[in-house]
């Protein structure tokens, strides 16, 4: 917001001195580009080019028994009528809708609680909650796979002590929750830290003012803190949404111990991976990748549009 406020001011200043400083300004402009150029090159080579190439590839088709042929939009027609792709999209969408609020709630609650405490235990707790972020998703998924095991996982032992059978969290009925747990474990701490950092950035005199007005801590949290970290929450939501829609690593790693629950078309990304690297269908896989990218882009854009307030950049 500060940026938005200062920019017009700066512009007018510059405009006033335009005639005198054109040469210097040209140099200034050139320097600006020089700063951006290295990233620009990487951006063009590793983002724009693959995207364009993916689109190009997706316009062709190649079967095992045929050569490459121009297909026009056929791959896209096929993708959006392909039950495998649609099922995968539906899964990640459903997953996002349930997962993200849960994740947000856990991380927001933890951040609010930690913001109120300043002792050693709170510092310890903050770091421990954050720790899973430093664990690669592959390893996190692997550990949970062990913990879920019906023969030697602790769940079975805990339930067994009460004479009950533990639910197998990777069965078709429970996989949703099994994965949700893994992802929440992995990311909630990271989101908590972002919210926490934003909370620490609030001017404490605002609380004093509220206290004087008779607000209790609950009211302070609900009426002041949460609105003040709104943009942090939006940022997290965007991250979580992008991350979940391209869900890949966790189901891929848990696949071998999930008794076939995690199919080759479980999520769109897994489907694209299998199409490309198991079935050698790079053209169709590119179309799937491109479609997924478009869906994520549009989804996030709509989300930002809905939550957008004047002045905020993201």
């Amino acid at each position: 917001m500060a940026e938005a406020a200062t920019a017009p001011l700066a512009t007018t200043k510059v405009r006033a001195a335009t005639r005198k400083r054109t040469a210097r300004e040209r140099r200034h402009s050139l320097t600006g580009w020089l700063f951006i150029a290295p990233f620009g090159v990487v951006f063009v080579v590793f983002l724009v080019t693959p995207l364009a190439y993916a689109f190009y590839l997706s316009l062709f088709s190649k079967g095992l028994a045929t050569g490459t042929a121009f297909a026009g939009i056929n791959n896209y027609v096929r993708a959006f009528t392909d039950p495998s792709f649609l099922k995968g999209v539906w899964f990640v969408v459903r997953f996002s809708i349930v997962l993200i609020p849960v994740q947000m709630l856990v991380s927001l609650a933890a951040a609010l609680v930690l913001d109120n405490l300043t002792n050693r235990f709170a510092r310890f707790a903050r770091l421990m909650i954050f720790l899973p972020y430093a664990v690669p998703a592959v390893i996190g998924a692997l550990m949970w796979g062990f913990l879920y095991s019906p023969s030697f996982g602790p769940l079975e032992q805990i339930f067994g002590a009460f004479g009950a059978d533990a639910p197998f969290l990777l069965s078709p009925d429970n996989i949703f929750y099994g994965l949700m747990n893994v992802v929440t474990w992995q990311w909630a701490g990271y989101y908590m830290i972002i919210i926490y950092a934003a909370l620490r950035g609030i001017d404490p005199t605002i609380y004093e003012a509220a206290k004087i007005d008779g607000a209790n801590s609950w009211q302070v949290a609900l009426r002041i803190k949460i609105p003040m970290v709104r943009s942090a929450l939006v940022l997290i939501l965007v991250f979580a949404l992008i991350g979940t829609l391209q869900f890949f690593t966790e189901p891929q790693v848990l696949g071998p111990v999930a008794n076939g629950t995690i199919t080759p078309d479980f999520t769109p990304n897994i489907y694209a991976f299998n199409l490309a690297f198991k079935y050698a269908q790079f053209n169709y896989a590119s179309a799937i990748s491109f479609s997924l990218g478009a869906i994520v882009f549009v989804g996030v854009y709509i989300f930002l549009f809905v939550t957008r307030k004047r002045g905020s950049v993201l």
Partner: protein, 291 residues
């Protein structure tokens, strides 16, 4: 009110601590399991009394020595690869992001707003969707199955640029830059001597984020590499898991114990990095959200 407050606060504090306690336990259980399991041999791993407590002999050191000798020490190689990819990829991405972020924040030039809008849009492009087209592209250039196939795409961090721009705009006052220019410093010297030191917290944050991103990456190296000598630790552990899940490879050493102890070792570097650098990144992470 002054009298009521302390009594009313007490039960709430208990609830708070219980809540925090539960969270800490939840987030630590898998790591605790990993540690306990690292001390077991295969029979007690699968037949032991408790998954969350020690049983059988203390085998941690045996497991460790098996880990570093198995397959001629391929595990160490994987760790080395991960470090290499994360270091170069993370450092490169950070350098690019710092330069570009500073450029966006402190220079006005034709096309800046459009470029930045495109950049913001690209934050929303799921990077894994690029893996397959990048693979095909690289395979035509003969770059697949090389370290570059993993490192080069890791240099791309639009979000890092965004963070740096936001931070530079706030933390580096224009007046200071102008003063340096008046003193006769060139643009680049101004950047290195005046702006860069002010941007340090954000630099550390972006560096950590990109190092973690590269270190944890799985999809990209999985797709790009077939030579197991080039695998990073994530793909390597994945390979072992695939073998172990289908009959354990049949050889003398239990792959599962190696997977467990290998996982434990592999998470230590990042945890150490985060714990030792916490005073930098904890502040830095708020940058993107304060806007």
């Amino acid at each position: 009110m002054a009298i009521a407050a302390p009594t009313a606060r007490k039960p709430r504090h208990v609830i708070t601590y219980v809540f925090l306690g539960i969270l800490v336990v939840y987030f630590l259980v898998p790591l605790w399991f990993l540690f306990v399991a690292s001390t077991k041999d295969a029979p007690s791993l699968f037949g032991g009394d408790s998954a969350l407590w020690f049983s059988g002999d203390f085998n941690l050191f045996t497991n460790l020595s098996n880990l570093v000798t198995y397959n001629d020490g391929i595990y160490l190689r994987w760790i080395g690869n991960s470090a290499l990819y994360a270091f170069i990829g993370g450092l490169g991405a950070t350098v690019l992001a710092v330069l570009a972020g500073y450029g966006f924040a402190k220079y006005r030039f034709r096309g800046r707003d459009l470029s930045f809008a495109i950049l913001l849009g690209s934050v929303m492009v799921p990077l894994t969707a690029l893996v397959i087209p990048t693979f095909v592209l690289f395979s035509e250039l003969g770059l697949t199955d090389t370290i570059w196939a993993v490192i080069l795409p890791s240099l791309l961090s639009p979000f890092g640029v965004y963070l740096m721009r936001v931070y530079a705009a706030e933390a580096v006052p224009d007046e200071l830059l102008d003063a340096a220019r008046v003193d006769g410093a060139g643009e680049f010297r101004t950047f290195f001597q005046v702006a860069l030191p002010l941007m340090r917290p954000a630099v550390v944050t972006v560096l950590l984020l990109s190092v973690v991103g590269t270190w944890n990456n799985y999809f990209l190296p999985l797709a790009m590499l077939s030579n197991s000598q080039l695998y990073p630790i994530t793909v390597g552990i994945g390979l072992w898991q695939g073998l172990a899940a289908q009959n354990n490879g049949g050889s003398g050493v239990s792959l599962w114990t190696l997977i467990i102890v290998g996982s434990l070792i592999s998470i230590i570097p990042l945890i150490v990095a985060f714990l030792s650098l916490q005073k930098y990144w904890q502040g830095g992470l708020a940058i993107g959200s304060l806007k």
